[in-house]
């Protein structure tokens, strides 16, 4: 006990030394972002973030029980089951997952990786050498990279080998499998993080600072899209890997996830010549990414942090005055009341001028584009256009609409510059909840309407004629409108002006709901619609579901808004427990 106490005391004394203090400060900045959780008001605890990052690996591993269970194999009549060969596509998926999640974190932390203006104001005038701040920040980056890499892959590194090796007689098989899997996915994560980091550092180094700030958003969105597109390769690539030795100019040789699969097979001793080559490329790429990131970081630090007070703080985007005709048009067509007209200007400008918000929406849109292109590829898949559209062909605008609407609704909950929301508290009488819902609804529908009118209508009419085209657009419009109503069922806010994001206490549940909702909204609807085109009687189901959803939403809204029809500016998290005070003396 005494020994433990003295160790704790030593540790406490150590963390209060200047250098560990600076490291902790840098970690806080990277984690909280450059706004320090103040202006944006969005704070996610480290525990919650780590849990969210660990979930995908755990979930996917559990789903694999079905594939590797020896009893189920016996039932299926699989007698010569080679677990290592069978694990190849899953191994590839875990590599991709680790790269995508860790790369995504690096994209999210893009701005906070380097010391910012706040650090400069608080630290630069203190008697600490700039090199020490630099070193502390470097240590913080390394710690957070390794923590994320380990967290993202922790669940899969335990569960996946257990599932694959459970039916094997020797424990050494499982241990070896686990070791190689853990090493490869962690290395893939580190590569992904440092590749993004190196990109940021190089851009910062090569471009003038204001230009770097201006294009950051586009680069981040592009990287996010590439990462999501990589995720979608997990279904096709394992098949192509088997053909790799026969194709000398395969595009796989340029795919980082394939390099790490090559490394995995190389470490397992199951790599052919082509895969072994990819494995070596993985190691070279990993070392190069780390070296480039370190060099770019060092030079960019010298160039930017030391001169931070001279560099202009350029906003990332600017709607400018050239778009004012759009506002005039929308004023005439859609937004009729003064509240709505002021509100949508505020919403659009906040959304496009605020990097975090634009990036989150861009992420949802990228997700939609990746899913939609994958569905389109599997819909075409060497076949021509059939006389009646298939479920896959019908689902494409539903996928895009779902991701876009959910993205807009999600970012509405992100607070922005809360110190400035006093103007709404001051000017609005609060009793305009229906106006606020109408504003949110119209803004959300404005995001999907142009796509429907300009892309979906001409495409479906061109390929399947006027009747099918308009029937599908009718279903699409109805479904998107219902989705908007569902998403706004308990909306009591002015977008971006409330201190507390409603999804925050139930982020995990919200994520699961998003996935399940995706399948219900896109796959099930498209299936039903395809059936309705063959036998029109099925179309009645749409009517029943629509009426049911509309009636439920209407009922909930009447009861919720009936009780409290004031706009919320400081929503509070739900309590985890409450005292019921059942007796008089409490």
């Amino acid at each position: 006990m005494i020994r433990r106490t003295s160790l704790v005391a030593k540790w406490e004394a150590h963390v209060r030394e200047p250098f560990p203090l600076l490291v902790r400060l840098s970690m806080n900045r990277i984690f909280h972002g450059t706004n320090g959780g103040e202006e944006e008001g969005l704070t996610i605890s480290m525990g919650l973030l780590l849990a969210l990052l660990a979930i995908p690996g755990g979930f996917v591993s559990i789903f694999l029980f079905d594939k590797y269970g020896s009893f189920l194999q016996w039932l299926r009549g699989q007698t010569n089951f080679d677990p290592l060969a069978a694990a190849l596509p899953d191994e590839y998926f875990f590599i991709v997952l680790s790269m995508v999640v860790t790369g995504g974190i690096a994209v999210w932390w893009w701005d906070s990786i380097f010391p910012d203006r706040r650090d400069f104001t608080n630290l630069a005038h203190l008697p600490i050498p700039a090199s020490r701040i630099f070193l502390a920040n470097s240590v913080a980056i390394l710690i957070l990279t390794y923590v994320c890499a380990i967290d993202v892959n922790a669940a899969s590194s335990i569960l996946f080998p257990v599932i694959v090796g459970a039916s094997q007689p020797k424990f050494s098989f499982m241990a070896q499998f686990a070791g190689v899997h853990a090493l490869v996915v962690v290395l893939a994560s580190i590569f992904s993080f440092f590749a993004v980091f190196a990109t940021a550092g190089l851009l910062m180094l090569l471009l003038p600072y204001p230009l770097f700030r201006r294009i950051s958003f586009y680069v981040r969105t592009l990287i996010a899209t590439v990462l999501l597109a990589t995720l979608s390769t997990s279904f096709a690539i394992p098949r192509m890997i088997r053909d790799l030795p026969r194709t000398s100019h395969s595009p796989l040789r340029f795919l980082p996830s394939a390099w790490f699969l090559g490394l995995c097979q190389l470490l397992r001793g199951r790599a052919d010549r082509a895969l072994a080559e990819l494995g070596h490329v993985a190691m070279v790429a990993l070392l190069s990414a780390c070296a480039v990131a370190a060099a770019a970081y060092t030079l960019a630090y010298r160039r930017c942090f030391v001169r931070l007070s001279e560099l202009a703080d350029t906003p990332p985007g600017n709607l400018g005055t050239r778009t004012s005709w759009i506002f005039h048009l929308l004023d005439r067509l859609i937004f009729r009341t003064p509240f709505q007209r002021a509100g949508y200007r505020f919403v659009l400008k906040t959304l496009f001028r605020n990097e975090a918000h634009a990036l989150a929406l861009g992420g949802f849109l990228s997700l939609g584009v990746v899913f939609a292109s994958q569905t389109l590829l599997s819909a075409l898949n060497g076949k021509g256009i059939s006389p009646l559209p298939t479920a896959n062909e019908l689902s494409i605008p539903l996928i895009l609409g779902y991701c876009l609407l959910l993205g807009v609704r999600f970012v509405f909950d992100f607070p922005a510059y809360l110190q400035a929301n006093w103007i709404f508290r001051f000017l609005l009488d609060g009793n305009i909840i229906y106006e606020s819902i109408a504003l949110a609804r119209r803004v959300m529908l404005c995001f999907v309407a142009p796509w429907i009118l300009l892309v979906a209508v001409p495409t479906y009419v061109y390929f399947w004629g006027w009747t099918i085209g308009f029937l599908h657009i009718g279903v699409l419009t109805l479904w998107l409108w219902l989705l908007t109503e569902v998403l706004l069922v308990d909306f009591h806010k002015l977008p971006f002006a409330c201190a507390y994001p409603s999804f925050q206490p139930s982020a995990v549940v919200a994520m699961i709901a998003f996935v399940l909702g995706y399948f219900a909204f896109t796959a099930m609807t498209a299936d039903l619609e395809a059936k309705a085109l063959v036998s029109p009687g099925v179309g009645g189901v749409f009517l029943v579901i629509s009426l049911g959803v509309w009636y439920t939403v209407y009922g909930i809204r009447r009861s919720v808004v009936g009780i409290d029809n004031h706009l919320m500016f400081e929503d509070a998290p739900a309590r985890h427990f409450e005292f019921l005070h059942l007796s008089d003396d409490g």
Binding site: R16, P18, L25, G36, G37, N122, P127
Partner: protein
């Protein structure tokens, strides 16, 4: 104690400060005045070593501060214009951090921080996150951080911003007392009344150049105005306040 010699700073070939020279002696309180864009903030950043001058030097006890920035900053207390603190730290945590980074021994630090927090009425909220602090509270945290290590030179950029009446009175008295104790104080502000009452010397800037410098009384006598406001207006002649007021009223009243 602190000398600026021909300080000049260009931002992309645009001059922000040109040939600025002054000598801040121990016990002096030098008030720096000027309209927006006159180069006050750039001057402050150069004399704190945060910004490298395009030309000229800043000397501390006769030595160029760039030769030993860390050594110079050990003797420097600085209150920046914006109270840009880490919002996820509490007031006490922030001050402890500054104290540790300044190398103040732990044994003295806690007591010192607590006493100063109590005297500046921050003790009840010392464990609350800075995010919840008002502007005045943040300003007081910055003041404590600047004074924590008993610096020889104090550079204060709008230190009264957001402070309540009693805190402002305490600070004004404190600045005078520190001056009497031999500290060299550079005081940047827009509030002419405070500068008039607190500062022994003046430095008036306009468009990056010095319009007037010297003892406060001497400058007023030279210009022939009894008040600093009159002197400042005479020197800067930025706008005609009466005319602008009339025009604003006309616009407000217009249908």
């Amino acid at each position: 104690m602190l000398q600026a010699i021909a300080l000049t700073k260009y931002y992309a070939s645009i001059p922000a400060v040109q040939n600025l020279t002054f000598d801040l002696k121990a016990g002096q309180i030098l008030g720096c005045l000027g309209p927006n864009g006159s180069g006050k903030s750039t001057t402050v950043k150069m004399i704190t070593g945060l910004l490298e001058p395009s030309r000229g030097r800043v000397l501390f006890r006769g030595e160029d501060i760039r030769r030993d920035l860390v050594g110079f900053r050990k003797n420097l207390g600085y209150v920046p214009e914006e109270p840009n603190l880490y919002p996820y730290l509490s007031g006490r945590e922030y001050l402890e951090m500054v104290g540790i980074l300044r190398g103040i021994p732990q044994s003295r630090l806690g007591k010192k921080v607590d006493s100063l927090l109590a005297l500046l009425s921050l003790h009840p909220s010392r464990h609350s996150a800075i995010a919840s602090y008002s502007k005045g509270m943040r300003q007081r945290v910055l003041l404590i951080a600047a004074l924590l290590d008993d610096p020889e030179v104090l550079i204060l950029d709008e230190p009264l911003s957001g402070l309540d009446v009693s805190s402002a009175m305490v600070l004004k008295n404190l600045i005078r007392a520190l001056g009497q104790q031999g500290k060299a104080i550079f005081y940047c502000s827009h509030v002419l009344e405070v500068v008039e009452r607190v500062c022994s010397h003046l430095l008036i800037l306009r468009q990056g150049t010095v319009l007037a410098s010297g003892p406060t009384g001497d400058i007023q006598k030279r210009i022939g105005h009894a008040s600093l406001e009159g002197t400042f207006h005479h020197l800067v002649e930025d706008v005609d306040p009466d005319k602008v007021t009339r025009e604003i009223l006309d616009i407000i009243r217009a249908a």
